[in-house]
Symmetry: C2
Subunit: 584 residues, 2 copies
C-alpha cells in the first residue's frame, strides 16, 4: 500500500480516535476478527470484549453518556448484531451517538447468496440491515472500496449531529483493503448549523416580549441540553437570567443541585407541592432540551398552558403556539441570555424568595429498616463531586430523584427507553469512561431482579480492573412490576441468588494471571469485596468509613430491603401506568 | 361475558394447549402482565419466567425441538421484544415453530402516538413489528376485537405449516376483551397440502427410472425430515428400500445410529474416507429434508452431480435438473417407499457389504488428557436411549458428530444459525419438554466461552427443579474462534469464572423456600452438585458410577481441557471459513 493509503478498518478507527473514543465494546465473531486485529494492535484503543452483545451495546450507551462523544460496538453478522438491537434502540430513544459496526461475510459470498451459517437460510443478506435501519439515524453497507471514506465520514457526522446510533456493515474482504488516507487530515465537522440571522432575531423578539409581559418565569432543564452539547449555554442562561431553575428526571444534575437558583425536580403531578407551586404558578415556562415522555413528565401532567411555554430544542424553537423550525438552541441560548441579563439582579432577588431548598432530608422515624424513604437521601450524602451515579429503571431511578447530588455528579438513567438490566452493562461503559477521563467513583443502584438480566458483565469489569460500587437492592423480585400490576403474582418472582458469591464466581481468584502468550499483557484483575447490609446503622457505618470511600476495589453492597416498599414517585407513576393499560 | 364468549388472551392460550404447549417462556413487563395473569391462572400451563428475553427465546427454541410443536415466548413492547430477536431469528433459520407474543400499549395510547416509555421517542409504534417481520413467517398486530380469533388461528397455522416463528402484538386493552369461543371446538388443521395426484404420479415415475438405472443409491437424511414431521415416513423409506443411509450434522440421530443400514455422517469433504467412498461413489443420492448450509455440507463440498440427485422437500421435489413445485415429501415418501420395496432384499444384501460401521472408538494413546479425540466417543458411551444431547456451536457441535448416540436420542444443535450461548437457554426448554414428555436425561455440552453469554439461565433451571447435566469444556476462551482466526489474540480470551461456585450462586441454598404469599406454591428447587474433572481416569470413574447416572440433581461437570485442541472436523471447517473471509 502506498504511504498515503490506509486500510478501511484503520481509517474508521482513526476517525473514532479523533472523536475521542478510547474503548471499543463488542464480542468476537468469525466475520469481525480481521477488524479486531486492527483494534488490538492500535496503540490508543482498548478492546473490551463483553460477555454478550446486549451487554456490549449497553456499555457503549453508558460510555457515550460520560464521554459525550461517539461510542463503538462491534458485533458479527446476524447472530451478534441482533443480540445488540435492544441496546442500540435504547441509545436511539435516549439520544446517544453510537456506531454499531457489524462484521459481515465477504462481498463475494453475499453476492452469491450463499447459504452461510449466521444467515436466515433463505439468501436474504439484507434482512438484518433492514431491521437496524428502524433504529438508526443513518447506515452504510460497504460493497466496494470506492466512496468508503466518505460513507464512514457521513454516518459518523450523522451520529454526532443527531445524537443517535448509526449502522455500518463491514465485509471481511474490505477490512484490510486500502483507500486514500488524505481525508483524515481534516477533522469531521458536526457543529449545529448556524441559525438564519433574520429568523433568529425575530424569534428572540417574540420570546423577549413573552418573558417581559410575564410576572414570573421559570427554566426547566431536560436531557437534550446535555445530548446536544448545550450545557455551558444552559448554565449561562441560568446565571444571566437570574430565573428559578428546575430539572426533569432525565435532566437531573445538569444544573448543579446546590445552585442557589435550583429548586429541585419537576415531574408534573408527581412533584412535591412546593415545587409545583413555583413551576405551575409561573406565567412562562422556558424548557431547554425538553423530552416530554410519560415517565419524564408525570404522565404528561404539566399544567403550564402551551401559550405560556417557550421550548428550546436542538433544531427548532416554539414560543406559545408558534413553531420556528431551524432555529436551534446552540445559537439561540447565548442571545437569549444576553437579552435577559439587564433584569438579572431584580429576578435573582425574587428567585431567592420563591425557590424551595432541595436537600437530603432523612426521615425522622427511629426504625432500622432500610426503607426507600431512608435510602435515597442517605445515599445522596455519600456522593462526592465528580462521582457517577447510575440508576436502573425501577425503584432506583425513581428513588434517586429524591437525592440531592453534589456538583458535577454525572447522573446516568434510562427514563424513556427503560430496559431492565441496562444499568449493569452501562456501568461497565461508565466506569471505563470515568477512568479514562480521571473522574470520581462509579456507583450503580440496581434491584435484584434487573441485575439478573445482565449480571455476567460484572466479569468484564473485574477482568479490566475496574472498581465500581454495585449497590444491589434485594427486595425479592421485580418491585416496579409489582407496583404496576400483580403484587402477589409469581411472575414477578425471581430465582434467589447468593450475592455473596457473585464476585468470586465471575472473577476466579485462583485463576489469577493465566498462562499462555495471549495472557502476558492481561490487566491485573480488580480486588473484590462483598457486604451484606441489613439495617440503617450498618449502612451508616459503612458509608462513613474512610476505607469504604476509597474506590480501590470492586464492591458489591447487598441492601436487604422490604418487598412492597417503593419510592413515592414510583407509587404514583405505577398507578397512572396501571390505569392507562386498561386490562379490564 | 356470555357463556360462549372468551377473553382474547384465553383464546390464544386454549389454542396453544390444543397444539401441545405446556410451558410458556418469557419475562414480565408492564405491557404484558394482564396476559401473564391468564397464564398463571391456567390449570395446564406453566409460566417459566426466564432471566432475560434472549434466554427465553432460546428456551422456546429448545422446547419446540423436543415437543415437535409450537412453543411460545412472551415479552413486552420494545425493550423486551428486541432482546429476543436473535433467538427468534435462530428459530426462523433453523425452522422451528415459535410464537412471539408481545404485550404492547393500549390501542388508545398507540393511536395517539404518545411519547411512552419503551418507545423510540418519535411516535413510531410500527418500528418493532417491522423489525420482527424480517424474521417471521406471519404476524398479526391486533387493533380491535373483530377478526381476532381468525388472525390468531391464521398465524398459528402458518407457524406449524412453515415451521417458522410468527409474531403477535397484543395490546393491553384487548387481552381481557371477549370474542366468540365457538371456533375453539374445531382444532386447527396444519397438515401439508396433499400433492396433485397426476403430478405426483409423474414425479414418482421419473424418480423410479432414475433409481432403477443406477447401480447404487444412498439416502441422506437432513433436518427438515424432522422439522416437517416426516420422521416416520423417512424411516419407512429406509426400511422398504434397503438402501444405505447417512445423515448430515443437522439430521443426526433422526435415523437410529445403530440401524444396520446406517453408515454415519456425511459432511462433504469433512467426512471420513470410508463414508465418502460410499456416498460419493453412489450413482444416485436421495436427500430427505436437505438444508445445505456451509457448516452442514462441509462448505458446499458435496461431490454428487446435480443430475444424480433426488431432493425431497416439504413443498417441492427435484429429480436431476427437473424441479417439481408443490410436490411435498409427506405425500411422496410413502409412495416412493412402496415403489422401492420389491427390490428391498437385494439392496439390503449390498448395503450390508458397503456400509461402514459407525461406533464410539476411543483413541489408543495412553495419555490421561481429556483430548477432543477422546471426549466425544467416551461421551457417546455414556448416553442412554431417550436422552437429550444438546451441543453448543463450537467444539461441541463439531466434536459430538463423532459420537454414536443410542436409539431415540434427541440431538439438539444449531448448525445453521450458530449463535454462541444458545445452548444454555435451549437446555432449559429441552429439560422442561423432556420432563413433560417423560423422556430421559438432558445433557448439555458447552465451552467456557459460550457459557458466559447466557449463564444466568441456570438460575431458572434450579428454580424449576430441573436436573440436567451441564458439561462445561474449560479450555480458556473461544476455541472455535481461535481455530478460525487469531489463536493468540486477546480478543478470544474471556474472564475466568470459578465454575465451582456457579450452582450455589444462581440458586441460593440458604434462601430455600421463601416467605410470602407468592412463594407458597414455589417448586422445590433442584439439588445441586459440581465436579471438576482433570483427566480421563477421573472422567471414566464418574461416567461409570451408578449414582452419577441418575438424574436426581442438577450437575455441573467442568472438564479441564487443553487450549488449542479441536475436533478434526472443526479444524477443517475453520480453515475453509478463514479462507472464505479473505481478510488479506
Amino acid at each position: 500500500m502506498s504511504s498515503n493509503e490506509i486500510k478501511i478498518g484503520a481509517y474508521l478507527l482513526e476517525r473514532l480516535v479523533q472523536l475521542g473514543t478510547q474503548s471499543i465494546q463488542g464480542v468476537p465473531g468469525d466475520f469481525n476478527m480481521g477488524f479486531l486485529d486492527l483494534i488490538e494492535d492500535h496503540p490508543s484503543l482498548e478492546w473490551i470484549g463483553n460477555s454478550n452483545e446486549l451487554n456490549a451495546a449497553y456499555a457503549a450507551d453508558g460510555y457515550a453518556r460520560i464521554k459525550r462523544t461517539i461510542s463503538a460496538v462491534v458485533t458479527t453478522f446476524g447472530v451478534g448484531e441482533l443480540s445488540a438491537l435492544n441496546g442500540i434502540a435504547g441509545s436511539f430513544s435516549e439520544r446517544l451517538p453510537v456506531i454499531h459496526i457489524v462484521g459481515v461475510p465477504s462481498t463475494a459470498a453475499q453476492g452469491a447468496h450463499s447459504l452461510l451459517h449466521h444467515t436466515l437460510g433463505d439468501g436474504r443478506f439484507s434482512a438484518f440491515v433492514n431491521m437496524s435501519k428502524e433504529i438508526s439515524a443513518d447506515s452504510a453497507v460497504l460493497k466496494q472500496k470506492e466512496g468508503v471514506g466518505e460513507a464512514i465520514d457521513r454516518i459518523l457526522v450523522s451520529a454526532m449531529k443527531k445524537a443517535r446510533p448509526v449502522y455500518l456493515a463491514l465485509p471481511t474482504d474490505l477490512v484490510h483493503a486500502t483507500i486514500p488516507a488524505d481525508a483524515l487530515k481534516t477533522k469531521l465537522k458536526y457543529d449545529a448549523e448556524p441559525n438564519d440571522e433574520a429568523a433568529e432575531k425575530y424569534v428572540l423578539n417574540v420570546a423577549k416580549k413573552h418573558i417581559e409581559q410575564a410576572k414570573s418565569a421559570v427554566i426547566l432543564v431536560d436531557a437534550c441540553a446535555d445530548r446536544h452539547g448545550c450545557i455551558a449555554e444552559t448554565r449561562e442562561l441560568i446565571e444571566k437570567s437570574g430565573l428559578p431553575v428546575f430539572a426533569t428526571p432525565m435532566g437531573k444534575a445538569i444544573v448543579d443541585e446546590d445552585h442557589p437558583q435550583y429548586g429541585g425536580l419537576y415531574v408534573g403531578n408527581l412533584t412535591s407541592e412546593k415545587v409545583k407551586e413555583v413551576v405551575e404558578g409561573a406565567d412562562v415556562l422556558i424548557t431547554v432540551g425538553s423530552l416530554k415522555s410519560d415517565f419524564n413528565s408525570g404522565n404528561f401532567s404539566y399544567r403550564t398552558p402551551k401559550e405560556s411555554t417557550i421550548e428550546l430544542h436542538s433544531d427548532y424553537t416554539t414560543v406559545g403556539y408558534s413553531h420556528y423550525p431551524g432555529i436551534g438552541m446552540k445559537g439561540l441560548l447565548p442571545k437569549l441570555s444576553a437579552i435577559l441579563q439587564p433584569d438579572q439582579a431584580r429576578r435573582l432577588e425574587e428567585t431567592k424568595t420563591v425557590v424551595p431548598k432541595f436537600q437530603n432530608a432523612l426521615p425522622s422515624d427511629s426504625s432500622d429498616v432500610i426503607s426507600q424513604e431512608y435510602l435515597w437521601p442517605r445515599m445522596g450524602r455519600f456522593f462526592k463531586e465528580q462521582d457517577q451515579v447510575i440508576v436502573e429503571t425501577g425503584t432506583s431511578s425513581f428513588g434517586m430523584l429524591e437525592a440531592k447530588l453534589p456538583k458535577n455528579t454525572r447522573w446516568v438513567s434510562q427514563v424513556l427507553w427503560g430496559s431492565i438490566g441496562w444499568s449493569v452493562g452501562a456501568t461497565l461503559g461508565v466506569a471505563l469512561a470515568a477512568r479514562e477521563n480521571k473522574l470520581g467513583r462509579t456507583c450503580l443502584f440496581v434491584g435484584d431482579g434487573s441485575l439478573q438480566l445482565t449480571v455476567q458483565e460484572i466479569g468484564t469489569m473485574i477482568r479490566h480492573g475496574l472498581t465500581p460500587y454495585l449497590f444491589v437492592l434485594n427486595n425479592d423480585g421485580y418491585e416496579i412490576e409489582r407496583q404496576i400490576h400483580g403484587p402477589e403474582r409469581k411472575y414477578n418472582d425471581i430465582p434467589p441468588y447468593d450475592h455473596s458469591l457473585m464476585l468470586d464466581f465471575f472473577g476466579d481468584q485462583k485463576a489469577g494471571k493465566r498462562e499462555g502468550k495471549s495472557h502476558e499483557k492481561d490487566m491485573e484483575p480488580s480486588k473484590k469485596q462483598f457486604y451484606r447490609v441489613q439495617g440503617r446503622k450498618q449502612l451508616d457505618e459503612l458509608l462513613e468509613s474512610d476505607e469504604f470511600a476509597k474506590p480501590d476495589r470492586i464492591r458489591v453492597v447487598e441492601l436487604m430491603m422490604e418487598r412492597g416498599d417503593a419510592p413515592k414517585a414510583l407509587k404514583r407513576q405505577a398507578e397512572a401506568t396501571g390505569t392507562a393499560n386498561k386490562y379490564e
